[in-house]
């Protein structure tokens, strides 16, 4: 089910208060087969029900109401991770720097080359696709981690912090044999083929014990 979502057609969202700009961009994106949704303002975008697909946002830094840059910060704060391609009518360098630092995909001065815009949007969509994939991977890891018993979870934490079986046995007050058996079942349930892989999983889940 989750995998199916990733295969759905990606979407480009355009926010611009001028209909003439929205219509032109819409035509350009549709001409290369991209799915487009248009919004006249940032609040309108936030209030909409957007498809759960890889997406990219195209907007003018001079949005009415909160500026494009403020909106970028607002999205980051609300934990909405969507790559943004900015357009600007002025070659404002400090603004460009600020936007790029805050993670904008591209900053295009108007009028821009159509290829530059399409490249930027494709880069944004690719970024979002990767992020979604990673997110779904973490979701799989989480459910596997949840299937461990509390004792197994503890052993995973200790193992990935770099402790040896003997030290773990001493730490939690069981025999070294028991640690070995539990450790085997952790590896199996998590689907890890090596200790290094298990460490990477613990890292991704944020459950890795502090190296001692």
């Amino acid at each position: 089910m989750r995998e199916d979502h990733l295969k759905l057609q990606p979407a480009v969202f355009v926010i611009d208060d001028e209909a003439s700009q929205r219509d032109a961009l819409s035509s350009l994106f549709r001409s290369v087969g991209l799915q487009v949704e248009l919004f006249a303002s940032a609040p309108e975008f936030l209030a909409s029900r957007r498809p759960d697909v890889a997406s990219c946002l195209v907007l003018d830094v001079r949005l009415p109401g909160p500026s494009g840059l403020d909106f970028q910060a607002e999205l980051a704060k609300a934990n909405i991770h969507i790559p943004i391609v900015f357009m600007t009518g002025h070659g404002d360098i400090p603004m460009t720097v600020r936007a790029m630092k805050a993670g904008a995909v591209e900053f295009l001065p108007k009028p821009f080359r159509d290829q530059d815009m399409l490249d930027a949007v494709r880069a944004g969509l690719e970024l979002d696709r990767k992020r979604r994939e990673d997110a779904s991977e973490v979701a799989g890891l989480t459910s596997r981690f949840d299937s461990l018993t509390p004792r197994e979870q503890e052993i995973m934490r200790l193992v990935t912090s770099g402790l040896m079986n003997k030290q773990i046995a001493g730490e939690i007050g069981v025999s070294e044999i028991t640690v070995k058996v539990r450790r085997g079942s952790v590896m199996k349930k998590m689907g890890a083929k090596s200790l290094a892989e298990l460490v990477a999983m613990a890292e991704a889940l944020g459950v890795r014990g502090k190296p001692r």
């Binding site: 001028e18 219509d23 032109a24 035509s27 357009m87 009518g89 159509d114």
Partner: protein, 436 residues
């Protein structure tokens, strides 16, 4: 007056040492006359006027020379004018030099210097000074520091011909009073010069800023349709080169290109009109000027979420005016209205621009906002130079607007709008057949 009785012999030359009632009256008349002259003198004529006064003073007193100097804030003395009896040299103008420097510090610290004879001169300077005055057969000197507002700002110096004359306090006080009339006029001139310099600099800066803002706004206005044209053109080409070209999409893109091209051209017409007839009065339609100005400020207004209500009378409003200047006024009033509303969030930000004609007033344009309004205290001052309620404001906008409107024979006023905000009224004389 006892102490001066021995100067009788030389009364003709030095009348102040033997004041009769007539003389006292004459002195008072001179003082009154000088006071009234200086009260009305134009700033750029102050120095000439001081020179004339000095001449009258030493002639009246039968003295050798009268000199007037100005102190800088640091206490440097410069001679502004000097008048002397025939055959005597005047003190060189400008910064004092050489042997004369000795009295600079004394005077600036507020002390009056009065010498009757050589014995009164301070030892370190006496030799050089003595030599100078002996050659010219003059000795008695009176140098008075002149204060305005508690600061020593100038000095007046009198030199009498050789005699052992006294400088009675009453006499010193009279000369000081006359000198201070001159000093006050001088200070007024100084501050008027400074104010004029600041004002012209501010006017220059504010018109530069306004031009810069206008240029940025124009660039943005033109860039928008250009960008739409380029994007629509690119999109159209892509629709055409797809394996199955979509003719409907191509047509729609072309239609948008035409529309945007026309829009750009409209904006350029507006700009051209704005810079035409640079400082010339010409017949123009105020309604049209209002519309054009609103077009130029369109994106600013939309950014600030301002709702524009335009209530212009259908007939053209002809006035004889300088287009660029009037546009500056209208743009300024609209920008002010916009800024007055940018904190308004609980009601609509409405900008209402109306036009009307009346037989008595001529042509009327009103610009009304729904902002906070102006309180009573500030209301009286909004047209004053340097008055501003904006953190970055210079306080020149409305001052300049009013002077532009007045130079066109009209007037600009403001009053409270109901229920919120402020309404500015521009009244201009209507163009008649004979004024065209």
């Amino acid at each position: 007056m006892e102490g001066v009785s021995r100067g009788k012999k030389i009364a003709a030359k030095s009348r102040a040492s033997d004041p009769s009632l007539d003389e006292l009256l004459a002195f008072e008349r001179l003082r009154f006359d000088l006071s009234s002259r200086f009260a009305n003198v134009a700033a750029d004529e102050v120095v000439t006027e001081i020179e004339t006064a000095l001449k009258r003073l030493y002639e009246f007193l039968g003295f050798a020379r009268a000199t007037f100097g100005e102190f800088s804030e640091r206490g440097d003395l410069s001679i502004l004018c000097s008048a002397a009896a025939k055959g005597l040299e005047t003190v060189p103008l400008g910064r004092i030099t050489g042997f004369r420097k000795w009295f600079e510090k004394e005077l600036f610290s507020g002390r009056t210097i009065a010498f009757r004879s050589w014995d009164d001169y301070p030892a370190p300077v006496s030799r050089a000074v003595e030599e100078h005055y002996r050659q010219r057969d003059i000795v008695p000197q009176l140098l008075i520091p002149l204060t305005v507002g508690g600061n020593v700002v100038a000095m007046i110096a009198l030199v009498a011909f050789r005699s052992g004359r006294e400088w009675p306090d009453e006499f010193v006080a009279r000369i000081k009073a006359i000198g201070e009339v001159m000093a006050q006029a001088l200070i007024r001139k100084r501050s008027e010069d400074a104010l004029r310099a600041t004002q012209s600099e501010l006017a220059r800066v504010s018109s530069l800023t306004a031009a810069g803002q206008m240029a940025a706004s124009i660039a943005h206005e033109i860039n928008q349709p250009l960008n739409a044209i380029v994007t629509n053109g690119s999109a159209g080409l892509r629709w055409l080169s797809n394996p199955e070209p979509d003719i409907h999409e191509v047509r729609a893109a072309f239609e948008r290109i035409v529309r945007e091209g026309n829009r750009a051209s409209q904006i350029i017409v507006g700009i051209r009109a704005m810079f035409k007839n640079d400082s010339r009065e010409a017949s123009l339609d105020l309604n049209r000027l209002v519309r054009e100005t609103l077009t130029l400020l369109d994106s600013e207004l939309r950014m600030n979420k301002v709702l524009v209500q335009l209530e212009l009378i259908p007939e053209p409003l002809r006035v004889l005016a300088d287009r660029a200047q009037l546009q500056q006024v209208i743009a300024n009033l609209i920008t002010n209205a916009m800024e007055a509303m940018n904190t308004v969030d609980d009601r609509a930000r409405t900008l209402r621009v109306k036009s009307a004609t009346s037989k008595t007033d001529g042509v009327l344009i009103t610009v009304e906002d729904s902002g906070q309004g102006i309180d009573q205290e500030n209301h009286r001052r909004i047209f004053n130079p340097f008055f501003t309620t904006k953190p970055q404001g210079m306080g020149m906008g409305l001052t300049i607007c009013r002077s532009i409107i007045e130079s066109h024979g009209g007037n600009l006023s403001a009053s409270a709008a109901h229920p919120h905000g402020t309404v500015f009224r521009v009244v201009l004389p209507i163009e008649t057949a004979d004024s065209a």
